[in-house]
């Protein structure tokens, strides 16, 4: 009986080749442990991971299922030496591996796994900056016609002729959302036109920080065209941070004030259709824009003009005709061309390796 029991114990082979190393590209506090599977991997319940500071007393710090050959211990203290053992477990039988060499975790300065992003950022940044400075040297930049932005002049003009206000909604995003920032850039240009034509601009906001920024932008726009007296501080206001209460408030403004033009430009979610449909029912010209792909169909359906994705970001340059900004857009287009070429080449190589008949690039 004892012989059978001993045989069953020693029949369980331990994991081998245990290697522990400082987890690369992290902020410290982590060691990665790797091992080779036990020969009896199919029979074991799990692998238990043990850690020691002195190489003699071990404590369990984790476990992982069979078939797995690595785990991260994220509870280490940087600068301390640790030893690791991995135990194969079956029922109550636990067979330990040999201990690993001592290992010490540390914090890394650079995450090398993100170097591809960094290189792409540098290349695209360089292209954009090249065209920006080419524009500064006086190079002519051709930008394709964006119908939605060309309509802004007409929309402001229509509101002026009708003696009705313009409603500008910057969406429900926060100041860190790029769509909100782009929207505030457009707001600056729209506010200048409103100031020039002396048209009332209503700007209800959902976020208190966006409200304070929007208020300053509109005020500065009125100043920049020499109409500081026309700025009405009460027409820029904060409503609520509740998504649907904000939608209800804007619907109320649309119904009561009957703006001649509604700008729905920024970051939107489900309220996009509620706003766009209410605006359409009042007969206002509607210019919408967002980078939220899921909301674009609603705007395309219910609004007269829609700025799709990047058109939203290009808007302030397009309206202001500022050469430097136009240069940046040109750079953006060349960046897209560059990425497009890379994607096409990668796709062709992918296809060539996929079709066995071609057998190239293997």
């Amino acid at each position: 009986m004892t012989l059978i029991l001993l045989c069953s114990i020693y029949a369980l082979a331990p994991p081998t080749g245990v290697r522990a190393y400082d987890t690369p590209d992290d902020g410290g506090g982590s060691v990665t442990i790797e091992w080779q599977l036990s020969q009896d991997d199919a029979e074991i319940t799990r692998y238990d991971i043990y850690r020691s500071e002195d190489g003699e007393t071990y404590e369990k710090v984790g476990f992982i299922g069979p078939g797995r050959t690595s785990i991260e211990d994220e509870s280490t203290q940087d600068g301390l030496e640790y030893f690791y053992k991995v135990a194969a477990l079956r029922d109550t039988i636990r067979i330990f591996s040999e201990p690993s060499s001592p290992v010490m975790s540390r914090a890394h300065l650079v995450d090398r796994t993100k170097m591809n992003v960094f290189v792409a950022l540098l290349i695209l940044g360089a292209i954009i900056l090249y065209f920006t400075y080419a524009a500064r040297r006086g190079r002519e930049m051709f930008i394709r016609k964006i119908t939605g932005l060309q309509a802004i002049d007409d929309a402001v003009g229509r509101a002026t002729e009708m003696g009705k206000p313009i409603l500008y909604c910057p969406g429900i995003g926060y100041i860190e959302d790029i769509a909100t920032i782009a929207s505030l850039n457009i707001l600056g240009e729209v506010a200048k036109k409103c100031a020039q034509y002396d048209t009332k601009l209503i700007n209800p906001n959902r976020d208190p920080i966006v409200y304070t920024v929007a208020r300053e932008i509109i005020k500065e726009s009125y100043n920049s065209v020499g109409r500081p007296d026309s700025f009405d501080p009460d027409s820029v206001y904060y409503v609520t941070d509740s998504q649907f209460a904000y939608a209800a408030a804007l619907d109320g403004v649309m119904i009561r004030e009957r703006p001649a033009t509604n700008f729905l430009v920024g970051w939107f979610r489900a309220e996009s259709l509620i706003l766009a449909e209410t605006g359409a029912s009042t007969g206002a010209i509607q210019i919408a824009g967002t980078d939220q792909v899921s909301q674009l169909p609603f705007f395309v359906t219910a609004c007269d003009y829609t700025l799709i994705g990047e058109e939203l970001y290009a808007a302030s340059a397009y309206i202001s005709k500022e050469p430097l900004l136009l240069g940046a857009i040109k750079g953006e287009d060349w960046g897209k061309f560059f990425i497009g070429v890379v994607l096409i080449i990668a796709s062709i190589i992918g296809l060539l390796t996929t079709f066995p008949i071609l057998g190239l690039f293997r």
């Binding site: 992290d26 410290g28 992003v117 790029i178 600056g188 208190p208 904060y238 994705g309 290009a314």
Partner: protein, 220 residues
């Protein structure tokens, strides 16, 4: 200086926002956490006071000048004051110094939120069903080639997800799924592709001070 100082701030904080993405060191990550969580929270608190002040000012002004529907502004101001008093002195779950229940009737902020704010929000959300119907009617009128294509694609997709579609042809559900998975995803990826690059360009323009519309324009 009025414009230079904000530009310097944007440049410094813009770069400080990029660095933590590439540097995992705790010193950088903790500083980033402080800026994003603690610093921003203080900033939001100040902005919120300004925001609420603006809201009250607009509605008090509306009552003073007896503008159209001025009576509703009273509802807003009274609701605002009641919520503020209960929230400040009654605590979120009625743990403050102010009693927030009369017998079994509770009126702490948590109860108000779940029984008033949430149902009102849900009501607005429910309106989407009706707006979707009217928007779909407008979108599906076959007035142009694009609208006709949209109508045909929508018709196929709608039939494909219904049991009737499978009865008409067993290939219809898979064709509908193909429309959703291939042409639809291709279009979405095209837009997202431009959005990603546009976001990068916009961020660069703002950090480097090329884009100044947010300053109200001007270059002085």
């Amino acid at each position: 200086m009025k414009r230079t100082f904000p530009l310097i701030l944007v440049f410094v904080f813009g770069i400080l926002g990029i660095i933590p993405f590439f540097v995992p060191h705790p010193v950088v990550q903790n500083a980033d956490g402080f800026l994003r969580n603690e610093f921003l929270r203080i900033l939001v608190a100040f902005a919120l006071v300004l925001g609420l002040g603006s809201l009250l000012k607009v509605h008090i002004d509306k009552i003073k000048r007896r503008r159209e529907n001025w009576q509703y502004s009273w509802i807003l101001i009274i609701s605002f004051l009641i919520s503020a008093i209960i929230g400040l002195f009654g605590g979120v779950r009625g743990t403050g110094i102010l009693p927030t229940s009369i017998g079994s009737f509770q009126f702490d902020i948590w109860t108000i939120y779940w029984n008033v704010v949430m149902p009102l929000g849900s009501t607005m959300f429910a309106l989407l069903a009706f707006f979707m119907a009217s928007a779909a009617y407008r979108a599906f009128r076959a007035r142009s080639t694009e609208a006709t294509l949209l109508l045909a694609a929508a018709f196929v997709v709608m039939l494909g997800v219904l049991p009737l579609g499978d009865r008409i042809s067993p290939h219809l559900p898979s064709f509908a799924q193909w429309i959703m998975d291939v042409p639809n995803v291709a279009g979405q990826r095209g837009i997202l592709f431009g959005v990603a690059l546009g976001a990068l360009a916009t961020a660069l323009k703002i950090i480097l001070g090329i884009e100044r519309s947010w300053l109200g324009g001007g270059r002085e």
